[in-house]
Symmetry: C2
Subunit: 363 residues, 2 copies
């Protein structure tokens, strides 16, 4: 009974045929006919039987026919079933593993850089478009402030967030300030603002700050405005795309409309950031075409894997491409990459005693 459920009532033969069709279609992109299945698979039956099965699979919604006298192609439901139940585990070649190790190890840097490198690598290894994401973080606070005095009309405000990100703002006060005032400002901010969320900074707190700043209380107003901006920026999320040109090799994107849709989505970022925000934090997520509510994704698939540190999603890497994506390979690649990245950001100390710099995160 469980097996029946998991297989959604598909006989073993139907599953084998469906898998063969998806595999073949992923490879050439053309419709797959009964004759091809007959000779590629070893199921002891004739083409006519296969045709019957295919007709039933179509009726069940797993296959589609582009036109009456063509073979079948998988429907979105077909891909979904394939990804959930039929897919074979792809084993990365030693060469691929070596590439991951080499590039990521050499590109040690802040999380930003690691993610960008990883998205590049994902694109290279899979031949689809890679994306690197820094997700929206809603409940972020600032854990530490610092100020750098440059001249009486110019100082820099530095903020370290609870996720470890460092942000800076240049400030140009109208009335000249002293180095001491700027230093005091950092102390006051650390005492009054840090570890508080935006909506926990109340008027009494601001008044206390102003009183502690004494003659330089005028600084508080402008600084607080910048802090709000800064928190808002953190809230936005970021996304980098690499390997757009790889899309062009897939005939599905010679349809200008599909290409335009996808490029528009990549441009926008909003839609994809939302999808990633909604996704599971643990697994690799697969979004197939119109499964998402994002209409523009209709003819494409998105696969992504969040990078988790200390229970927080600090980033994600992914791949975007045509529906007939080589899911097996993409899943394996993203798993491999994310494993490496997690290792990197969890190794706090390094062998060489040098720097190790897990970018945006907190310890």
């Amino acid at each position: 009974m469980e097996v029946e459920l998991e297989n959604r009532g598909l006989s073993k033969r139907k599953r084998q045929i469906l898998k063969a069709i998806v595999d073949a279609h992923i490879q050439d992109g053309g419709p797959v006919g009964s004759k091809y299945i007959l000779q590629s698979q070893q199921l002891g039956c004739s083409a006519a039987t296969i045709r019957n099965e295919m007709a039933e699979l179509e009726e069940m919604g797993y296959l589609e026919q582009p036109h009456a006298s063509a073979g079948r192609i998988p429907s979105e439901l077909g891909y979904r079933f394939y990804v959930d139940s039929l897919i074979e585990h792809y084993v990365m070649t030693t060469n691929e593993i070596a590439q991951i190790n080499h590039l990521l190890r050499s590109k040690m840097g802040e999380l930003d850089q690691i993610l960008t490198a990883a998205s590049n690598l994902a694109s290279n290894l899979t031949n689809y478009t890679g994306i690197a994401i820094k997700p929206r973080v809603s409940a972020v606070s600032i854990s530490k402030f610092e100020t750098i005095y440059l001249d009486p009309n110019h100082y820099i405000l530095i903020a370290v967030t609870s996720t470890g990100a460092v942000k800076s703002k240049h400030l140009h006060p109208i009335t000249p300030v002293s180095q001491d005032a700027v230093a005091l400002l950092a102390d006051v901010l650390n005492d009054c603002v840090s570890t508080r969320l935006a909506d926990q900074i109340t008027l009494p707190i601001i008044m206390e700050m102003e009183s502690r700043m004494g003659v330089d209380s005028g600084l508080v107003g402008s600084v607080m405005k910048e802090i709000y901006n800064l928190l808002a920026e953190l809230d936005e999320g970021e996304m980098k795309v690499s390997g757009i040109n790889r899309l062009l090799q897939y005939p599905e994107y010679s349809n200008v409309e599909h290409l335009q849709d996808l490029l528009g989505t990549l441009e926008n970022k909003e839609d994809i950031l939302n999808l990633v925000a909604q996704g599971s934090n643990e697994d690799v997520n697969v979004v197939i075409g119109s499964e998402s509510r994002v209409k523009v994704m209709n003819n494409s698939a998105l696969v992504f894997k969040p990078i988790v540190k200390d229970g927080h999603t600090v980033g994600a890497i992914g791949v975007i491409g045509p529906l007939r994506m080589d899911y097996a390979k993409v899943l394996a690649t993203l798993e491999g990459l994310s494993g490496n990245i997690s290792d990197m950001i969890h190794t706090n100390k390094q062998l060489n005693g040098g720097t190790r710099d897990a970018g945006n995160e907190k310890d």
Copy 2:
């Protein structure tokens, strides 16, 4: 004689015909025939005469014929002559000016953000792909260091460059350090390293730093390594692209190869950063197809305007698109945008005493 020279020996009529052809071609993208010129222009001669002139213009290299029985299209030389001598000044609509003002003023922030907003705007207003560039800076030094102590195994190094950019690195020393040691490190770095270029940091200097750090001399090695990395990153330049999808509306990019070439170039960034680095610092630069040594640009044109502050190029905005670009409009738009940006970054003090300016922050 001077006029002759400036017009490269083209009679007034030839210039009028050439301009009419370029204008028409920019608009429809098709070859332009003698008949069209006859009725669009008021030059008192017949189609046959125009044909003769066109034949001569072709011989001189300003026009090309896609095939024997088609009209003419401008050659790269033709575009160049058009841009240099024939172009009419485009006057921005009040609506366009309002858009620039509104969006840029509302997007006050660090230079990064301004540039990105400007490139978006350039793309919107012109209907081509916009780019925002932070150029390579070769002779950059660090003007100020700061450190932020987080815990005995984790501190942050902050560096402010001579161009005002702020960069940060997380460091995780193997042996625990004290807050005082980290603070001392900042002082030592400010005394010994700041204002020096990378190749001016010699062994004696490093030894002096180690001696001043006392028991914590072990920190110096790892920090110096990060500083080198940081300087290397500054050296790289950055580029953001917006509105790639706009390219698809131009039939020249339905040629998959051309599109692939251009997308590849946009991906790479190297080529365009080089072009911008070579360009004039003052004017709007126009690079028409194979004029540049970048082969992949063969079927596209790049127009960009550097943003200069205190004699240094701190950024650039530009537009990339097909050869038959509406140069008049693009030139006007970029001039307008860069004017606004310059105003913004030169206003050191703001009415509200708020922020402004140059910063590229790192997390």
